[in-house]
Symmetry: C2
Subunit: 256 residues, 2 copies
DNA sequence: CGGCGCTTTGAACTAGTTCAAAGCAAGTGG
DNA sequence: CCACTTGCTTTGAACTAGTTCAAAGCGCCG
């Protein structure tokens, strides 16, 4: 079952993601140990599966380029998208619970990942306490994200959810040096819907409305954020994006 | 800010929760170290706050008796209940993300907790690798739970949600040796609603319906599970609990 | 007793779903 | 190069699960 290919160039030290990835804040000499542990996995093609739910937990994976999506499966066959993972982000932690993964992870586009064999990670943590606390920090951040996600699913309207989703993507784009206003969504409407707890039709309609109101420029899977501030307001429920509110929309509404 | 009181009796070795709590699976000699680190906190009264969101992360807490509820706060003032914590369960892990807690935690009834000062935990992890992996396992399980929670908020009907909630409580009751059929809900309808992403009125109506259909016997905050198997079916969406389906009709006697 | 907070129930409403159909873009094979 | 398939997206129209608003009931405690 070893698809891991070692020997490829992968030095963390020279990696563009060093500052946002697991090694962030780890001293240079310890970094060399991590470097040695990291395996480069054969690149994934779009739609290719990194691991299936239920598979044995052997590695943690770091996204180097591309994008991943994780989703859990209900016994009735339905799927729930749990998250999207951009370069610099870590996936596979849930496997630590019981030695098997609880989610499947699939590539949304051609993707490269670094693999960290679990055994090596555990050994290393004893010798490199910084790694241990870094890992703890990352897991805890994961938890915080999940809580945000729950809070969103709990009480927010469809508009608020989509706005929050776009802003989160935008921020993460910024973190890795991409243009935070231009988003290339690599996932389908129905995947966004599943992630946000909405029907795909609802997502599609929202994009149309937000486009019409001038918040976004939507062209298929390419989205341009035209008014980030307004989007932030929508996200916090301070604005109802249905009624115009924006210059671009139809203005001939005779106010009551 | 140290409200921690040491010196009270608290030996893990003699604790009834040993097998379900953090120390599960940790060898006896290492256990003594943990034992020494654990501080007993003054008992919390109902509604008393263990820590506030934003407070510095100083301790992990283990529930000894009673029950806790954690909730996050949106900037608009609304609250989202993130979870309920029964004896043997750990709270406070989210604080590891940035040195402050992201949730507030409050007691639902008179509650005792054990406190594990963070500094001691970190020191110990270096010497007791079992503790490190135990902690990792617990955090990862947390993640898995959060994912279940998200999956529930995403696509399940109100009935399915409430059924899943009750079954989860029931299982956890069983784990700590309580009767899994008789639940004393220590939280209000609106707290359950927040947790499940429903209005409090909806929760109340569901209890009434499930009572009427003979699934449950509900008397205020005391719930008796009459037909666990059927409840499990509702939870998996195999049954629509609106239409009768059940012989037992209205019988509003308080469970003995 | 009287007041307060929680719960229940009813009735009206609406945000979002579902179902259905058409539009579009990319790929495939003749 | 075009016809055809396939999968995603958009849009419309009808529907409904769950919300919201309102009011009454119930327990509890000072």
């Amino acid at each position: 079952m070893h698809e891991v290919i070692s020997g490829l160039r992968h030095a963390c030290v020279s990696c563009g993601l060093r500052e946002v990835c697991l090694p962030a804040g780890i001293p240079a000499d310890s970094l060399r140990l991590i470097d040695a542990a990291v395996r480069q996995r054969r690149p994934l093609r779009a739609r290719e599966v990194l691991f299936h739910a239920g598979a044995g937990f052997e590695c943690l994976y770091l996204v180097r380029s591309g994008a991943l999506m994780s989703c859990s499966h209900e016994e009735d066959g339905s799927e729930q998208v749990q998250g999207f993972h951009l370069p610099g982000e870590l996936v596979g932690l849930d496997g630590m619970a019981g030695g098997r993964h609880g989610c499947s992870v699939v590539a949304l586009e051609p993707t490269n990942v670094c693999a960290l064999p679990l055994a090596l990670v555990q050994d290393m943590m004893v010798e490199v306490p910084e790694l241990q606390s870094a890992l703890m920090r990352i897991i805890a951040r994961e938890t915080v994200n999940d809580h945000l996600h729950v809070a969103m699913m709990g009480r927010r309207s469809a508009h608020e959810r989509l706005a929050a989703f776009l802003l989160s993507l935008s921020e993460r784009h910024a973190r890795i040096g991409r243009d935070p206003r231009r988003l290339r969504l690599t996932m389908s409407r129905s995947e966004i819907g599943s992630f946000l707890g909405l029907a795909e039709e609802t997502v599609s309609r929202l994009f149309s409305r937000m486009h019409a109101s001038g918040l976004l420029e939507v062209c298929g899977r390419t989205v341009l954020i035209r008014d980030g501030e307004a989007l932030r307001q929508v996200c916090h429920g301070q604005v109802d994006p249905c009624r115009p509110g924006h210059a671009h929309a139809r203005q001939n509404h005779p106010p009551a």
